[in-house]
Subunit: 286 residues, 6 copies
């Protein structure tokens, strides 16, 4: 169960309204890597967690914190929208700046939400649950979480560069710092999983490696003319999982056949090879 | 530019048709973590790459290989569908197994694709580009790639367990091995980025940390009653970035105010606080 | 079956083209609360109606009228687009107004539809069927319809304020009036359903209330510090359904346990608690 | 800011696993009218609220409670999935019940989430933010909220009828009771808004009715052959807003013209009427 | 404006309920190539038409007919759902056929629509407006329409094969015949466009061919090892547009360079080539 | 399997950056009719092809070429973005042109991709797989392909008109020429299918026409007042399939009944007709 503290986790006060920036800021609220994504991801990972209790507890702690980040961003966006042009203004036709604002802001901030934040990204695309993952495997998921905190921090720093409003920058500097913490947190949690021998590379480590095709498990296939990719750490030396050595294939060739499909049942009215249809059908497994 | 070799990278021949498994196998073709996702992600990261040439080259090599994985899965799915019930069969009403297959397979495999693979997942949801990322920051992106190879390998091992068809397992064992390689590849590439001082934690490392709010950059906030999360590696000790120490806040409190929004322009016909409207409007920045 | 009268239900003639406003007007054509949404909602509610014939007939009457509203808006939008800059103009680089129009209009109006309306909203997001509902329960559905006519009328009045084109305003004034009618219509229909004892609050009223947990059926749970929400009509007094009295819980506490999930089958390769796995598996229901 | 209490608001323990029902139960978790929809709707309405504080407070209280409902459903679904067939079982090919379960359950519960709940509906379609609304107008929004609690309660009662598991029914009976409360709550809040003269019908009531086309503001247009719809409360008598009387138009006719569009700029390469192109272009507003 | 005739265009009466087939039939109602797609496509093409009046009129005639097809399918689906298992039945656990139906039908037909049709396809994915096109160029659009009637007719014939219900087949035989008509109609309309010299191949024919790169305008590029594609009518002989001859390139080579991107502005915090950053930035166009 | 040639198929070098045009150009990369759509469509049609080998080979040749088109467009877009305003510029508040660019460009090009192309269209909507089709019937699919090359060529010519950058126009002129080829190619392939008697009109031609309702198979139904549509080639004369003659119905009337649905099982809690419920339920097929 959850409780609400009416205070914001951190201040969300711009110096002045800026409807164009409000539109941009939506990206880190409702975009692919926005706060709704991490909030929903961490909560579902926590609720679905079948591993040790400390992981579940930690996931729900950070998931709960992220709700507060959504709250701060929503508040900030509403305030950035305060002076958006809500009605036809006679000077708009003559004042290019007003026209630029009217053209550049998200029209749904006027028409749909009435100067409120929306759970959408900077192009107005709605947040959706395919931005999240909770796989039941904590290593696979913590790698996702580390990614999310990296992409998210990257986007917030980009937004920081695109405004000079000190109130906005103050809040973004708080979010950037929390992302610093959370990147470290997921790196530490990954190390903990490995130290406790719950999971390691290759993930999932509970699948017997003897069942995979070992001869291609450490090969780099060069699929192009030229060999610049041979210069990387992925082309020679020990592999990070400590179980093999990278092998570089300069001119890989295919293992498989040239595929040919059987004709389909004629009652599907597809296009089959002429002649061979009846013969093949006779041989089809039923 | 690209060229096609008519051979498959590896065999894609089931022992026998299995329309129910065909539906499931769609997940790793057209799902969130399927082969289309990594193919498109790596190609776009390569095409957009502004970093050293070896990274660009490597990204396009592996992106090109992934097209071949899509090809193998599409071929396998088409063959698993070979004997799907294409027409009303009198015994279906009496044979529960036939009824179960008709109920359990993806109806679009009959109606839409005529026994062909589709670029959708195991519930028929179409692949979409929000499953990909190419941010311009290679560390943020390689962390995504490592995630994708972890979630993808996890899903393929789960599918391996759910079939006993030796032909299917043979192909999956090839894909699992390639995912082993690719997890190692991204781990090695991340180490290379750090060794070359192109990027490190916290990502993006080019944003001056002095600008973020350092006092919260290494704090774990316990947002719940109880303290199991205090036991983890994320609650004390040096942080993985080597720049700080974790601090555990058992009872964090909010920094911010209780927010109150200004009334909106009445021409938006929203609901404002009575009385204060006119006063506030007079004070609004214009 | 349906027939078409070539006349528009009402005029759709702007005084002058305005590509920026055309983009905005798309919201009430193809947005969440636009005319396509009510057209499809009412038609499907009518086609699926298993209740008295007068409801079915009324639903199909208004659904049919809404097709005409879609037609009017599409026509208006096409005309607002008439003079959009269809080709590179040398002065665009120098004339800020032209640049603002080129930046602010929906590029798909040029590239995709060639100055035609599209079934999308003001940010170009396509209309989709999850905007509709036809549940088989007329009270639940008429409440949706009342909502749709409220959100829709709100959006049209906002658009009215944002233009001074007399032709556009004339058409919007017609649509606003029809929304006035339709709000009244759904309120009247809801009263009729209750008068005829087909449905009432709590909806669905055919589910025996004795089966629900009566002790929480009229309680307001205050989930936050502070008590402003105690001042509302929802915190004390008789409930609108006439069956209870509101009770205000200042400090609610949880009824449930701290949940702990069982480990999963190891063949799913998720992360389980160490040690307890085998024991728990032995006890799993099979 | 938010805090988490590790206890569930109410119990979420099924008597026995049931993967088919788990799939169904997803509808009220991540579907159009599921708990995520009300949680996100109420929170955003609260954060965006510019009206009196008691409304904002109440919205955030109920929004916070809804997070707990999401938590209960996620927990219940994970438990219903406990014994899902995680691996190929030899008897599946012979046991129709096992085959039916394997065909009927959501394959993503095995492949993607590893027996965890997902933020999707009963057909696996991901939750998205277009299921929510926060318009800034409280009457329009409370009507939506009343709808959501009606559609939601309807769906939960339908699910109640489709299981005989006493643990599942126990939790559903709690949710049904809370929906009873919340329907009453929104009805009471609507009455409060009207009593306080903040909003009334037609919504938005701040738009001057003199600007709409009054002659059609209370007319029912019969758009079909036959007149069953004339029998309803919407066809005669005083209108619920108290400002007019319903008028029934048996044979309505169009007000508008037969529309004809101008030719488009030839550089758009669309199809224009031959001959008239050049003339019309000369007359186009530039 | 539109009017409704309460009669169906054709009968929609199954011999008996069949919830599994109801799910399948949704494909041609709300799928990519279903009746909603053609209805919306033809109506929008008509409303946006700037060409000769007979085309506009014809488009709106057929668009209006398609609404009636949606109506017939919705009615049929509702009737096929009549006996769906609406409540827990004790024998379901023992009767494999009941279990198969419960697993195989669309759960939303029970939970969401209460035995009504939904504007979704056979996997429950909602119809969306990206299934339509109205480009302003009638040849491009009529080619789409011809495709839609081909894919649609193909799907209806496949559904015909999968049922033996005489009532269902009777209605499908009507739809198949109308698709025969409509394929012919679009072929005739395409011929008419060409005869009237409004459009021809290559479409759009109003773009001067002298501006395109003529040397590659009639070349087939063989992008693979092997030459089976050389045997087709696309590899030699006169081209269908009568303006060239096909040329077969057995071993095509690239015209372009190996691309290298400039470094990005460092304030975007992406990954650039080391060293060259500052130099390149100095040379960037500003 | 696939290989990569590091050279672009054709040059992709603009004369100068233009972030507004970069946004527009996304339409033909990741839009409904963009290069990703044809790439994925042709590849899946090839992989699923059960017809003669030359068709499969040709499909994979052109599908492989289309990957190169995606590559060229991605490269061009990255270069058009080179000088986008990556940081707050003091003069932006004063320079309307800078403001217009900042308002008009896609904000995700800055925030999400860091000046890279994205797999989305010109309004930022992500590419999705419902833009493709591979039905198993080659005629139905080649008609789609012809449509795609027509809509695609139309969009590229429109974009050509909207820029005067010679580098951009040079690349577009190459793409336009390839679309000329591909339109001809699909027309030739359609003729080949018919010549080889694999498929013809009405498609699918393998469904016995005797089973469809022949009396309506060649009728044009005029669904509106007025008769302009009677003037077209679709209203009289031989039909293009050579199997009938068009018949024009000036005043068509419905074949079907006025539908009435049975009441639903009361445990679904929908709204039924009063009184008749029990009787009807007794007669329901079980």
């Amino acid at each position: 169960m959850f409780f609400h503290d009416k205070h914001l986790q951190y201040n969300a006060k711009p110096e002045r309204p800026d409807p164009l920036f409000a539109r941009k800021l939506q990206e880190v609220l409702g975009g692919q890597w926005g706060e709704i994504s991490v909030m929903m991801t961490y909560l579902f990972q926590g609720w679905n967690c079948r591993g040790p209790a400390k992981y579940r507890d930690m996931l729900l702690d950070i998931g709960t914190e992220e709700i507060a980040h959504v709250e701060m961003l929503a508040t900030m966006i509403a305030r950035l929208l305060d002076s958006a042009p809500a009605a036809m203004q006679e000077d708009a036709a003559r004042n290019p700046m007003v026209a630029a604002v009217m053209g550049g802001m998200n029209p749904q901030h006027l028409i749909v939400s009435g100067l409120g934040a929306t759970p959408t990204d900077s192009v107005g695309y709605p947040w959706n649950a395919r931005y999240t993952v909770a796989s039941g495997n904590l290593l696979a998921d913590f790698r996702f979480n580390l990614t999310a905190e990296s992409q998210g921090r990257l986007q917030v720093t980009r937004l920081y560069e695109q405004t000079d409003d000190r109130g906005v920058r103050d809040m973004l500097a708080f979010l950037i710092a929390r992302d610093t913490m959370h990147q470290n947190q997921w790196l530490a949690a990954i190390q903990e999983l490995e130290r406790e021998e719950l999971e390691t590379t290759p993930c999932p480590s509970t699948f017997p490696q003897s069942l995979e095709h070992g001869e291609v498990a450490y090969q780099f296939w060069n699929m192009s003319v030229g060999e610049e990719s041979a210069q990387g750490a992925w082309a020679s030396g020990r592999t990070p999982d400590g179980r093999g050595s990278f092998e570089y294939l300069a001119n890989p060739s295919a293992f498989g056949e040239v595929p040919e499909l059987m004709p389909a049942d004629p009652r599907l009215h597809g296009t089959n090879k002429p002649g061979v249809v009846q013969r093949a059908l006779n041989e089809m497994p039923r």
